[in-house]
């Protein structure tokens, strides 16, 4: 089947019900999207589907044919996005494993709500788990990213 990932078409041979996560990681070879739970509990596998944040671990690959899939690798092909710069400026990461998912969730939030309220940030970002407990800096970085994006817009 045909898959459009980060603006590029891929021909993949995979069963229809294979989760998008494993197609991305094991067939397309994009390992930035992470496996954490396999049941849409942790958000480590978050990618964008036509701009919406989805859990690739429970998204059958057949359901994304003809739609645009964006992964962390494709978030900002020309250098770092405002979100990624904010993540670095706020020194968010620790082990870093959950962060691609955190960033993809934040990117979808900021695309929909360029100036999110604290409650909107908490609501959106509570879908993603971080065992290192980087939450305070994630909150700060989402706000910083909104500022940075506002400045360059």
């Amino acid at each position: 089947m045909k898959l459009n990932v980060n603006g590029k078409d891929h021909d993949v041979a995979a069963p229809d019900d294979m989760p998008l996560l494993w197609v991305l990681r094991d067939i397309v070879g994009l390992t930035g999207t992470k496996f954490g739970c396999g049941m849409a509990q942790c958000g480590a596998c978050t990618v964008h589907l036509d701009g919406q944040a989805v859990r690739s671990c429970v998204t059958p690959v057949a359901s994304v044919q003809g739609r645009a899939v964006k992964t962390i690798e494709g978030l900002s092909p020309q250098g770092l996005s405002a979100i990624q710069r904010a993540w670095i400026e706020e020194d968010v990461v620790q082990c870093g494993y959950c962060q691609p998912g955190q960033i993809m969730t934040a990117a979808a939030l900021l695309a929909a709500r360029p100036k999110p309220s604290d409650a909107e940030i908490d609501n959106a970002m509570s879908a993603n788990l971080c065992r290192c407990g980087t939450y305070l800096r994630i909150r700060a970085a989402v706000k910083r990213a909104a500022e940075l994006a506002g400045r360059t817009a």
Partner: protein, 715 residues
């Protein structure tokens, strides 16, 4: 991008365009497990840093990066003494080799909150020795005395002459290393000691960072293992026809831990495993039941155990006490649940084996792999990948997840690289838990309210029994990790008559250290019980602790700082109340004041003010991050963490029934660092122990209810 050893070294040579010269020699090989290397007086800088003609300074880090920031802290130490430009610093993970053995523990490993303090001298000396060799090289070239030269941000300078490190590296490498060098006083530090952003951020925010799970090799297959549903179970019979019929399944092999299904990718292996039909011989493991364990441990707590600490005659002193206070505490088994599920990739060739994984125990893994494959340890190459969290789970004395992957690769044969992946369910149900514990206490108070008699019995499985650490860390029948935080507690030591004893019942459940180890339960007992004693003595919890800790200045230092910053004693709005806790662990002192409200039986932690004394502090930004994260880790255990058994089966399986704290539950955390020139302590773990008791003490202040079980049950 800076990544792991070996592969990236070759890539660097190929692609950077820079001829790599200078401080690099191939790591020495040959390893005897647990054998401390014969350390030279000064470390060989060749093993720890490399200067490129492009002026890059690559620091080779002997510890695993699992989020604790060692990829930043150790390079800061090198850069401080070397005098290089911080912007030119790169990082590379060390291969497994004796030269990278832990300076204090003698084997290559990461744990015990020791990465920074244990390397404080070695990495600084490596930088200082290299600096002296660069200076000598420049002085020779200029025909001046080395004492007329100094370093300045990547250059050696003398008068108006300047030469860059990159230009000097080749000549410097030929110099004889100095016999002695002087390290800077930390007061002179320009790089170390200042809040510094992490060096691994760029690759971690772009998805480029390679964790164990991200390893991809030509011809690699992926395996899942069907393990017994109860601990100690074995395969009685196996029908694999349906599994083998799943498209993409390549092989089904039996290994000591169960049955491995090997597929062309994860999904094939997963569907194959679902289709396997196995009859298990469950043996005794099927009898495990949390309720029965609880009753057994509680009964055991009423009987005398092995003495862990004692002074005077506790029973006699108890009978003469003005007042006695008693309590019993219970803690469940806990899973580490790092965000990256366990995994390990192995390729076995005729002349050697390679292992790619996120591990905290390279030396153990190398030894175990050698044993299974019949190779020599030096024929086993360990590629330490980034760890998607460790918390102790990737430091198993049995190398469980590595040895299993080696067994699978061996069974598959033909040199095929195999990645064994654990699902989240495998991870939660796979054992190696923080043990369940019961504590029973009876303390007698004198007329002045201070303890005069202290009796405490602890019951819980030994983490170290049966491991290579046992001879070193189990003394007189006492596993130190079961009693740390009690046997050495200033409250216990300060009580004239005391007796602490321990029972270590043997159970089939594999147990392991989890972030803060024994302190994960002992601090809760001590700090909530002392709150009860304060109440019994009719004293303010802060004042009472000040009295008991009057001869412990570092406890008092953090206690007073946290109380002051939190505004202890001042009224709070919005139904909030405060609780506090102070505890020493891993050579650092930590006090926390929690602001909590309780509404409709639900606990909300709003703010946690932390004061920490970790001695000399290398990266204050890293310390803050560790303490913030430790509070989150402690709260996860306090509010949610619990594994239970029924008919031998672990009843939890994934984050829906083994929850961890989410962002909307994260309190504001303030971290105040005591300025100190004392010996550096640990920081990865000490923030965990006080979090739960500080919150529990606040809940008591709010509700009048004493919580003596984790996770909290308010109903």
């Amino acid at each position: 991008m800076s990544t792991q050893s070996g592969l990236s070294r070759r890539r660097f040579l190929k692609t950077s365009g820079a001829l790599v010269v200078g401080f690099y020699v191939a790591p020495r090989t040959g390893l005897a497990a647990m054998q401390p290397p014969a350390a030279p007086a000064l470390p060989d800088p060749n093993a720890f840093l490399r200067i490129g003609e492009d002026e890059s300074v690559t620091v080779i880090v002997a510890h695993s990066e699992m989020g604790q920031g060692v990829w930043t802290a150790l390079p800061m130490l090198v850069a401080e003494e070397l005098g290089c430009d911080w912007a030119k610093v790169r990082v590379e993970e060390a291969p497994a080799a004796p030269v990278y053995a832990h300076p204090a523990f003698g084997m290559q490993m990461t744990g015990g909150s020791s990465s920074t303090w244990s390397e404080l001298d070695r990495y600084r000396y490596a930088g200082a020795v290299a600096r002296e060799m660069l200076i000598q090289a420049a002085a020779d070239q200029w025909k001046v005395d080395p004492s007329a030269c100094r370093v300045e941000s990547g250059f050696v300078v003398s008068g108006d002459k300047r030469l860059s490190f990159g230009k000097l590296a080749a000549a410097a490498q030929k110099r004889t290393p100095p016999a002695t060098v002087r390290l800077k006083d930390p007061k002179e530090w320009k790089i170390a000691g200042r809040p510094t952003k992490r060096l691994d951020s760029p690759e971690k925010v772009t998805g480029q960072a390679k964790f164990g799970l991200d390893v991809r090799l030509p011809g690699m297959l992926t395996a899942l293992v069907a393990r017994a549903p109860v601990f100690g179970g074995t395969v009685k019979s196996l029908r694999a026809e349906k599994a083998k019929a799943v498209p993409g399944v390549k092989a089904v092999v039996q290994v000591p831990s169960g049955v491995a299904i090997v597929g062309e990718h994860f999904w094939a292996a997963k569907l194959g495993r679902d289709a396997l039909e196995i009859d298990w011989d469950l043996s005794a493991g099927a009898d495990l039941d949390t309720q029965r364990l609880r009753e057994e441990f509680r009964a055991t707590a009423g009987t005398p155990g092995t003495k862990a600490a004692s002074a005077g005659d506790a029973d006699a002193a108890m009978s003469g006490a003005a007042k006695t206070v008693e309590a019993e505490y219970e803690f469940p088994y806990l899973a580490h649940a790092p965000m990256e599920p366990l995994n390990c990739t192995v390729r076995i060739g005729p002349d050697g084996a390679e292992v790619w994984t996120g591990t905290q125990f390279q030396t153990m893994d190398q030894g175990v792999t050698a044993k299974i494959t019949g190779l020599k340890p030096e024929q086993v190459k360990i590629h330490t990948m980034f760890l998607g969290g460790g918390f102790g789970r990737r430091a198993t004395p049995t190398s469980d997840f590595v040895s299993e992957a080696v067994q699978v690769a061996k069974a598959v044969g033909s040199g095929v690289p195999v990645k064994v992946v654990w699902t989240r369910e495998d991870d939660i149900r796979g054992g190696y838990y923080r043990p369940m514990y019961v504590h029973r206490l009876r303390v007698g108070l004198g007329a002045d309210g201070k303890p005069v008699a202290w009796r405490q019995t602890i019951v819980g499985q030994s983490i170290l029994e049966g491991t290579p650490f046992a001879p070193m860390m189990i003394k007189n029948g006492i596993d130190d990790t079961s009693v740390e935080g009690v046997a050495d507690s200033p409250y216990v030591k300060g009580t004239p008559s005391h007796l602490v004893d321990l029972h270590s019942p043997k159970k089939v459940i594999p147990v392991l250290w989890l972030r803060s180890v024994g302190h994960s339960h002992t601090a809760f007992v001590m700090e909530t019980f002392v709150d009860e004693l304060a109440q019994a003595a009719g004293q303010d919890p802060l004042e009472y602790r000040r009295r008991l800790l009057s001869e412990h200045p570092r406890h008092l230092g953090v206690l007073n700082l946290a109380a002051e910053k939190a505004g202890w004693g001042r009224p709070l709005a919005g139904g909030r109340v405060r609780g506090l806790a102070v505890h020493e662990s891993f050579g650092s002192w930590m006090a926390q004041v929690a602001e909590v409200s309780v509404a409709s039986g639900r606990v909300r932690v709003h703010r946690v003010v932390c004061a920490v004394d970790c001695g000399i502090c290398v990266n204050p930004a890293g310390v803050r991050a560790q303490v913030e994260g430790a509070v989150a880790f402690g709260l996860s255990a306090a509010l949610y963490g619990e594994l239970t058994f029924k008919d031998g089966r672990v009843q939890q399986s994934n984050f829906h029934d083994y929850p961890i704290l989410r962002l909307n539950e994260m309190p504001d955390v303030e971290v105040h660092i005591v300025s100190s020139s004392e010996k550096a302590g640990g920081i990865g773990e000490p923030g965990v122990p006080p979090a739960a008791p500080a919150v529990a003490n606040a809940i008591f202040a709010a509700t009048g209810k004493r919580l003596r079980q984790l996770p909290f049950r308010l109903a």
